[in-house]
Subunit: 126 residues, 4 copies
Amino acid sequence: MSEPIGRRVWAIAEGYIPGRSHGPAPEMTSHETACVLNAGDEEARVEITLYFSDREPVGPYRFTVPPRRTRHLRFNDLEDPEPVPRDTGYASVIRSDVPIVVQHTRLDSRQAENALLTTIAFPVDG
Amino acid sequence: MSEPIGRRVWAIAEGYIPGRSHGPAPEMTSHETACVLNAGDEEARVEITLYFSDREPVGPYRFTVPPRRTRHLRFNDLEDPEPVPRDTGYASVIRSDVPIVVQHTRLDSRQAENALLTTIAFPVDG
Amino acid sequence: MSEPIGRRVWAIAEGYIPGRSHGPAPEMTSHETACVLNAGDEEARVEITLYFSDREPVGPYRFTVPPRRTRHLRFNDLEDPEPVPRDTGYASVIRSDVPIVVQHTRLDSRQAENALLTTIAFPVDG
Amino acid sequence: MSEPIGRRVWAIAEGYIPGRSHGPAPEMTSHETACVLNAGDEEARVEITLYFSDREPVGPYRFTVPPRRTRHLRFNDLEDPEPVPRDTGYASVIRSDVPIVVQHTRLDSRQAENALLTTIAFPVDG
């Protein structure tokens, strides 16, 4: 299980956390997630930079993923250097010092029934 | 943050703007969006060409994305050279003079509860 | 607009046409679609082969996409050599004699409100 | 139909089986599926390894896909070496001894109306 899997730089052009939700928190709260898989044997040090339409990028947001672990990071929970604004379009670039795999999801519960979307992020390098 | 990220030509084979909507406009209006990330240090000059089933392509629709910015462009808002017809299948090719990343989304609110879809567009070049 | 865009062989591992629907036909009928973009200057001759869990592949289903056109082909409408069974998992391989782009979508209206999914198909060649 | 199609190693960073469902089982039970297409002429021996946030990987889960067949494998049904926990984030790596294509889907029926997501998995090798 020690084979390196994935890439070091990923991009997600879509980003939007709805400001309203239906249903019990936190499970059904409208949210976006970067699902990160580190299948390798070294800890991954990951940095996310957020891009907006009308101001300079914000970041990096730093976190780690232990070896042979996945981490499903809600953009809603990012706080340092600043929270992600709701009802605002953004995009993100994810950089890691070891290969990882990144998948993007959103649960949207603005209306009574939830909607979902997902895509593998775009692998930037090589 | 000046590393060029992405490709110069992208394709989206799916396109369909539902003609009906439920919920408050513009947020819950049925729409399709091309989310464009320009993570580089130069302005991106972007051109979209639309393809239909029964007539010649329409375009280019021209817009720019400033350096280190994202732009979430609703196909609903395209007007020059002509609006995008509703309830009509189409496809699109997006060309930029610098590398960008493109992701496609639809919010469909024809029925009372909204549905969502997304995918990273297809990177055409290299 | 004459640049060849895409690949000649694509695969979609998911396939499932729900047997039930809510809402007005054909718009809201549960369906799966292969959205094909032919951005080139030559007609695309396309063949779809369907794979099942418990019997030999079925096909090819043949159709064409004119130059500079898109075609959003519902799997529901395939009839020759045989219709696609409902409520049955399948997969598909799409071959073309010129480069095309293929995107897969499903609208599922088994319940009162519709759900959507999409992904760019997997480009097999090169 | 004997052309080898796909890759030997695939990754899915997202994984989450909702613990609750609405609607008749098994069709509308909340579930995640790995749709596997083996378009080649040799049986595919496939192994899935699951990754979690807080413990070592689990697996391999072993199954086969006959030549020229598809298999839509519900993660809900995995039992050996252990069932997949509900309401828990995970990720997966799928390895095959021959080329296959893998697509990931979820049907979420926690609320009254179902939601869907899908993406082609990330092709790890070559």
